[in-house]
C-alpha cells in the first residue's frame, strides 16, 4: 500500500515520485514483513523523538555560547583603561585631519592641532594683545612700510627634508620671504588676508608678476613689508598661524606628496611624531625658541571621534582627557544654570574663553532694499533668547560686526537696546512690506537651522513671514556669492584681531560681492573707513566704534552673538590658557599638582 498524504494527487505520479525518493513501498514491490515494517516505523519514531530533543537542546547551547563570549568581553572591559599620565594629554577632536600644509589649511576645527606645529610672525595673548613670535620686534614710521626683526636662532623641527631624520636648520629671513610669497599665490587659501594689503601680492596672485614687490629681506635679520596704503592695523592681520612660516624645502618636488601628510615641519612648540586618519601624535619640540614656556605636557595625542555623544562618553570613561563642548552637547553636560552636571564636575573642569567667532543673519541689501523692513527685523530679533536657548548663555549678544574686546574695542551699540518690539512694529508699519515670504538660507553647521527656526517664530510675532530653505554649507556660500540668497545664516571665525580691517572688508563698497556679502554701499561710510588709515591705531579703534554704529543704523545684516568656547578637561591638569583665536597653549599646561 502506498503512503500518500495528499490523496487528491494523481495516484500514479505520486507513487512514482515517492518510489523514486525511496519514501514508500510501491504497489508493485513486495511488502516488508510486518515485523520489519514495525521495526522501520519504530526506528522512525525514535529518531524523531531524538531530533526533537536535539532541537530543544541546541538553542540552550547557543545561548550559553554567547553568554560565555559576553562574560569574556566584560572581563576584558573590567581591566582598567589605560589613562594618560599628567605629562601627556589626549584630546578628542571632531574632524578628520586635513593636509597640514599652511597654504591649504582652512578648517578651523583642525587649528587646535596645526597651530602647535606652525607659527607666524606675531601672536595674541589670552587678553587679545599682540605678542612677538617669530618676529621679535617691529617698527614703522608711516604705517605703510613695516620692518620686522626676525628672531635669530629659531630652528625648524628635525626632518628628513634637511638631510636626515635627526637634522634641522635655523630659520632664515629668506624662509619668511618665501613663505609670504607663497601665501600670495593663487593656490593659497589665506591669500585674501594679504592681497589687498601688500604691494604686488594681487599681481603675483593673478600670475602677472613673478615676485611680490612688497616683501623683501633688507638683511639677514630684517624683513620689510611694503603696503599698498597705510594701515595702522596691519599687525592685526598676522596674529594667527594662518600666515605661518615654513621651510623653503617644502616646495621641493621630492616632498610634493608627503608635505602636509607625514611631513609637516614648522617652528612650533610641538612637532609631528605620527599621523593617521584617526590619531595624530605630537611631541614636545626640544629646540623650541621660547624657553619661558615651562609647561609639562610632552606628548599631545589628538583622537578623531566624529560623533559628539560618543566623544563625551569617551571623556567620561577616560579614553580622552579633553574636548571642546559643542552646543549640541550642552543639555547632556550642563545643568539648566550652565554649570557642569555633578557626575562630570567630579572629574572634569570647565574652561570658557571668548572667541572672535560671530554669528549673524545676513541680508542681501540689493534684494531687500527696504531699510525699514531690515530695521524691523533687527529690532524684532530677541538675541538673548537665542543665546539662552541654544548656548546656555555661553555667548555674548552683539549688535555689530566686531566682537567686543578685540584690540580693546568697545562697541558703541548697547546690547540692551537691540531688542525692541515697539520699534520693530513701528519700522514695519513704515515699510512697504505686505506679507510676502522672505527666504532665509540655513545650513547644517553652527546650529544654523535651529537659530533660523527660532528667528522665524520671532518674526511671526511682529508679522514678518520668513521661509526657511536648508542647504549644505557650501551650497549656501555659493548662493551668497552669486547674490541669490535674500537672507542667509552665517558665521565668521575672525583671523583679524582689530576692528578696522573687519569693517573695511565687510562694509566697503569696493569689497562687493565678497566679502561684503550684503552688498552694502554707502559712499560716506567708504570715505570714513578710508580715513581710519590716517589715524593712530588707538584712535582708529575708537573711531571704528562710531562708524560701526552708523552702519548698523542701516541694518545691512542682523548680528546676533559672539560665541564663547567651552572646554572640558581632566582635573589632573592645571590652568589652560587659550587666546581668542583659539590657540591652545599646551606648552604652558602643567599637571594640577605642580
Amino acid at each position: 500500500m502506498a503512503i500518500s498524504n495528499s490523496g487528491s494527487v494523481e495516484r500514479g505520479k505520486t507513487l512514482d515520485f515517492l518510489a523514486h525518493q525511496g519514501a514508500v513501498q510501491c504497489d508493485n514491490d513486495p511488502l516488508p514483513s510486518s515485523s520489519r515494517r514495525f521495526n522501520v516505523l519504530s526506528k522512525v519514531s525514535k529518531k524523531r523523538r531524538k531530533s526533537t530533543k536535539e532541537v530543544v537542546g541546541e538553542p540552550v547551547a547557543v545561548l550559553l555560547y554567547f553568554m560565555a563570549i559576553a562574560v569574556l568581553f566584560l572581563g576584558l572591559a573590567s581591566c582598567s583603561r589605560q589613562t594618560s599620565s599628567a605629562d601627556q594629554i589626549v584630546v578628542g577632536i571632531e574632524a578628520e585631519p586635513e593636509r597640514f600644509d599652511p597654504l591649504t589649511m582652512k578648517n578651523p576645527k583642525n587649528f587646535i592641532v596645526s597651530w602647535q606645529i606652525f607659527e607666524g610672525l606675531l601672536g595674541l595673548d589670552k587678553n587679545g594683545q599682540i605678542t612677538p613670535a617669530l618676529a621679535e620686534s617691529w617698527e614703522t614710521s608711516d604705517n605703510q612700510v613695516w620692518r620686522f626683526r626676525i628672531r635669530q636662532g629659531v630652528r625648524f623641527h628635525d626632518s628628513e627634508m634637511f638631510g636626515s631624520q635627526s637634522q634641522s636648520r635655523v630659520m632664515t629671513v629668506e624662509d619668511v620671504v618665501e613663505s609670504y610669497t607663497a601665501f600670495c599665490s593663487s593656490a593659497a587659501y589665506p591669500a585674501f588676508l594679504l592681497m589687498d594689503s601688500i604691494k604686488g601680492c594681487a599681481e603675483y596672485n593673478a600670475g602677472t608678476a613673478n615676485v611680490v614687490d612688497g616683501v623683501r629681506a633688507i638683511d639677514d635679520k630684517t624683513l620689510e613689508i611694503n603696503l599698498i596704503k597705510p594701515e595702522p592695523f596691519f599687525l592685526n592681520r598676522l596674529t594667527t598661524a594662518w600666515i605661518a612660516i615654513f621651510p623653503r624645502e617644502a616646495k621641493d618636488s621630492r616632498f610634493k606628496d608627503s608635505w602636509g601628510f607625514n611631513l609637516s615641519v614648522g617652528t612650533g612648540p610641538y612637532l609631528l611624531k605620527s599621523r593617521s586618519d584617526t590619531e595624530i601624535v605630537l611631541v614636545r619640540n626640544p629646540n623650541y625658541w621660547d624657553k619661558s614656556q615651562h609647561g609639562g605636557i610632552v606628548r599631545l595625542t589628538f583622537r578623531v571621534i566624529k560623533n559628539d555623544q560618543v566623544r563625551l562618553a569617551e571623556l567620561k570613561k577616560g579614553g580622552i582627557d579633553m574636548m571642546l563642548l559643542p552646543p549640541s552637547l550642552f543639555p547632556a553636560a550642563l545643568d539648566p544654570y550652565g554649570s557642569l552636571k555633578n557626575d562630570i564636575a567630579a572629574k572634569f573642569q570647565m574652561k570658557v574663553f571668548a572667541t572672535f567667532n560671530s554669528h549673524l543673519l545676513g541680508i542681501n541689501d540689493l534684494k531687500i532694499t527696504d531699510q525699514h523692513l531690515r530695521l524691523a527685523m533687527s529690532y524684532g530679533t530677541n538675541r538673548k533668547q537665542i543665546v539662552d536657548k541654544f548656548f546656555y548663555g555661553y555667548a555674548d549678544v552683539i549688535g555689530g560686526a566686531v566682537p567686543p574686546g578685540m584690540s580693546g574695542y568697545v562697541p558703541a551699540i548697547s546690547p540692551e537696546t537691540l531688542f525692541n518690539l515697539e520699534k520693530a512694529r513701528d519700522e514695519l508699519s513704515r515699510s512697504s512690506y505686505r506679507g510676502e515670504p522672505l527666504e532665509l538660507f540655513v545650513h547644517e553647521q553652527a546650529v544654523s537651522e535651529q537659530i533660523g527656526q527660532l528667528f522665524q517664530s520671532q518674526m511671526k510675532t511682529i508679522g514678518i513671514n520668513i521661509q526657511l530653505t536648508k542647504l549644505d554649507f557650501n551650497s549656501v556660500i555659493g548662493r551668497i556669492v552669486k547674490g541669490d540668497a535674500p537672507m542667509f545664516s552665517m558665521f565668521f571665525d575672525y583671523v583679524l584681531s582689530s576692528p578696522e580691517p573687519i569693517l573695511i572688508n565687510l562694509f566697503s563698497s569696493t569689497k562687493r560681492p565678497v566679502p561684503n556679502f550684503w552688498q552694502f554701499t554707502d559712499p560716506l561710510i567708504d570715505s570714513e573707513l578710508e580715513g581710519l588709515r590716517a589715524l593712530s591705531h588707538e584712535a582708529s579703534v575708537e573711531k571704528s566704534a562710531e562708524i560701526e554704529k552708523e552702519i548698523m543704523e542701516q541694518a545691512p545684516a542682523i548680528f546676533l552673538f559672539r560665541l564663547k568656547q567651552v572646554i572640558l578637561y581632566s582635573k589632573k591638569y592645571g590652568e589652560l590658557s587659550v587666546n581668542p583665536h583659539g590657540y591652545f597653549r599646551f606648552s604652558e599646561l602643567s599637571s594640577a599638582e605642580s
Binding site: R48, K50, L74, C79, R99, G260, D277, Q309, N505
Partner: protein, 299 residues
Amino acid sequence: MLTLWCSIIIATFVLFHIIPTDPARTLLGPNAPEEQVASARQRLGLDQPPALQFFHFAFHAFKLDFGNSFIDSRPVGLEVRRKIVNTATLTVMAVLFIALYLTVQVLLQGSRKWSRICELSDFLLVSLPTLFSAVLVALTTVAYYPFTRFSGFLTSLSDFMFLIPAAFVLACYPMGILGRILRRQMHLVSGTEYVRAARARGLSENRILRRYILRNSWLPIIAAFGNQLPLLLTSTFIVEIVFSIPGIGSLLLKSVLERDLPMMEGIIIVTSLFTLMVSFALEVMYQLIDPRIRSNHVQ
C-alpha cells in the same frame, strides 16, 4: 558588465557636473576674490568645455586613474585604495555576522518558541534605523567594550576587534531581512512532498535539514543577499561616521560636502565596479548551486 560599467562612468560624470556648484569657490572659501577663483578654475580644468572634460575623465577612468583631489591634491587612487580596505573588511565582517545569524536561525527552526523569538528579533532588526542602532551600539561599546581605538590601518588584532560592533550594526538590517526570507523558505520547503517522503523513509531530521530543506532554500537567500549588498555599502556612510572609521563611506560624504569632484568620481566608479563584480560572482554561484538553472542556461 562592461556596458553597465561604461554607463556608470557616463552617469557619474553627468551627475556631478550638472550639480550647480563651484568647486573652485569651495576650495578657496567665501573670502577669496573672484579673480583668484577664476584662476583656480583654470588650474583645475573646470573652465574647459564639458565634452573635453568628459573625454579626459573617461580616458583616465578606464585606467582607474582619477587624478588628484581638488582639496589637498592627494592622489585619489591611493586614497581610495587605502580606505576601501577598511570598508571591505567591515563589509566582510558584517557578512560573517549575517552568516552566523542565519546559522542560528537554522538551528532554532525546529522549536516553535524559538521560532517566535526569531520572528521578533527579525522584526526589531528590520525596524531599527541604522543611525539609531549605530549610536546606541557605539555608546554601549565605549562603556563596556575594551577595543575602542582604531589605528586607521588593519595592522593589529585590536583594529579588527574595533570593527566588530560596527560590523554588527551594519549587518542588522540584512540579518532581519534574510532571516525572514530564510525561515519562510524553510517552512515552504519543509511542507513539500519530497520532504514528507524523506521523513516517511525514516531519515533523521538533521539529514533532511541538510540535504533537502537547506539546499532548496539557499537560492532565494543568495538572490536576496545580492539585493542587500548595495544597501550594505551605503549603510557604511552612517556607520563609519558614528564609529569614526576612515573608510570609503566617510570619504565620500566628506568629498560631497567639499565638492571634491575627482574623489567623488573615483569612489563611485570603484565601488560600482566592486558591486558589479560581486553581482557577477553571485550569478555564477546560482548556477553552481542549482543545476536546473545551469541546464536551462545550456538549453
